[in-house]
Symmetry: C2
Subunit: 251 residues, 2 copies
DNA sequence: AAGCGTTTGTGAAGGCACGCACAAAGTCGT
DNA sequence: ACGACTTTGTGCGTGCCTTCACAAACGCTT
């Protein structure tokens, strides 16, 4: 599972900081000093987007409430796992009834930080960068692409889905002036580390890396990797295993 | 990861013999030279492509041998984990020296099933399908794209990187006549399940799904999911957490 | 040949996640 | 109002994965 390699600041399991004074916790009548000692496990976080999508589908279908069984079915997980995952976010279900679709959707979206629209820059407008720039799934989910960058002069200036591709040197200014920004790296493997270093220096703390190479970043920066070739190779491994079993070799 | 959701035939958890328990003497061969008595854990499989890529880079750099420490560094993992992973494939290292780069590369490639070139079909030649069809990383790693399919008549007939896009109805014939095939799904979410059903019916047992939806398949079919929006949302979660910590809220 | 430094392979321990099963809590029918 | 039914929230056992730590194995030097 952690197939996805995240270099995230690991939280210390035992101790968490006592009251810092102002907590924006919702409306929980927390009698004790610590408002929400809840730490969402990484495995749970990775499933929240699935739940969110399932909830969107159910809302479109017109359902107002949904049981953990039904939602789990829609999301492709077990109901017990779903309930435990949701329990990390707090108790938003009604026993005997289920979850209110809209409310739960809102809560998960809040937790994922989708209330504010995140700025996204795409660096490397090649085959894949083009495709991602034109992908509608970003804007519809709280992400707005605010910049396209490339070094190739023949690509710079081109307009892709309403945005002009700018030279790589404009990158720093765009990131600095805009605040928190997520960078999508779709550059060749050879230059990925260098470009990433520039992004980090400019203040980017979240990187989605499509380049087939390991990039190193400071501890405060999160990197998630998407590697198409790796996925195919993993499929090939299982396919070969299946083939061998069919032939009669030992598992 | 999970994480990434793989629906693979559950491996038998019982008798797992990683490597050797009988290093004392060559008493009796408990069984006749079995080629692979080892069950490779899923988590290990998901890292093999990384190791393979790191080995390729090291080979290009001219190194002949590499220590677990150095290879782990290149692959971005811990050395102990690397050694244990490799131990599931057998013992190909030399104590006091390290691993022979070319030999290890060969062994991992064998295990991943990259000796034979896998056939890949891409279904759905939209933005992303275009990009993947033109992605050079496939052919260079043992995968050959043998078919592009779409329903849109305005796309059918178009030639993308040397292959003509064919109508979806040609899909069954192509899959059936070609043997084992991996399908890449880059269709809209609404039709993903239907297209996948056709693929499975035609004999496909490995699917790489880019559609942002859960697809259901029989037990003997492997599905891996790549979801760009989910990755961004997970990054947003961590980014928001970091922001709150910085502001002074409780973790 | 023997000792020394290096590196692998692996037993063992700890942590994390998953799933079961059930009490608590709510709704619905009568 | 009350009992029966439904569904959530979660304590707990189990198994997988990771990490540590070290003995065995190898090359190199003397």
């Amino acid at each position: 599972m952690d197939d996805d390699v995240v270099r995230s600041a690991r939280l210390r399991p035992g101790r968490n900081r006592p009251g810092a004074g102002d907590d924006l916790a919702d409306l929980g009548p927390c009698e004790s000093a610590v408002p929400m000692p809840v730490e969402v496990p990484e495995a749970t976080v990775s499933r929240l987007p699935q739940y969110l999508r399932a909830l969107s589908a159910l809302a479109e279908a017109g359902l107002r409430t949904v049981s953990s069984e039904a939602l789990a079915e829609a999301a492709g997980v077990g109901s017990a796992k779903l309930r435990k995952d949701l329990s990390y976010l707090g108790s938003y279900g009604t026993r005997g009834v289920g979850y209110e679709v809209g409310e739960l959707h809102q809560h998960i979206a809040d937790r994922l930080g989708l209330t504010s629209s995140w700025r996204v820059v795409i660096v490397g407008i090649g085959n894949l960068g083009h495709a991602l720039a034109g992908y509608g799934g970003f804007a519809s989910r709280g992400f707005s692409v605010v910049g396209l960058f490339d070094v190739d002069p023949t690509v710079v200036g081109e307009v892709v889905s309403g945005l002009r591709v700018r030279p790589l040197d404009d990158l720093e200014a765009t990131v600095r002036e805009g605040g928190a920004t997520i960078a999508v790296l779709t550059v060749p493997a050879g230059v990925a580390q260098g470009v990433c270093d520039r992004l980090v220096a400019a203040g980017v703390t979240s990187v989605l890396n499509f380049a087939p190479t390991v990039i190193r970043v400071p501890d405060h920066v999160d990197v998630r990797k998407v590697d198409l070739a790796s996925e195919l190779q993993i499929l090939a491994f299982h396919a070969q295993r299946k083939a061998h079993v069919r032939v009669g070799e030992v598992v």
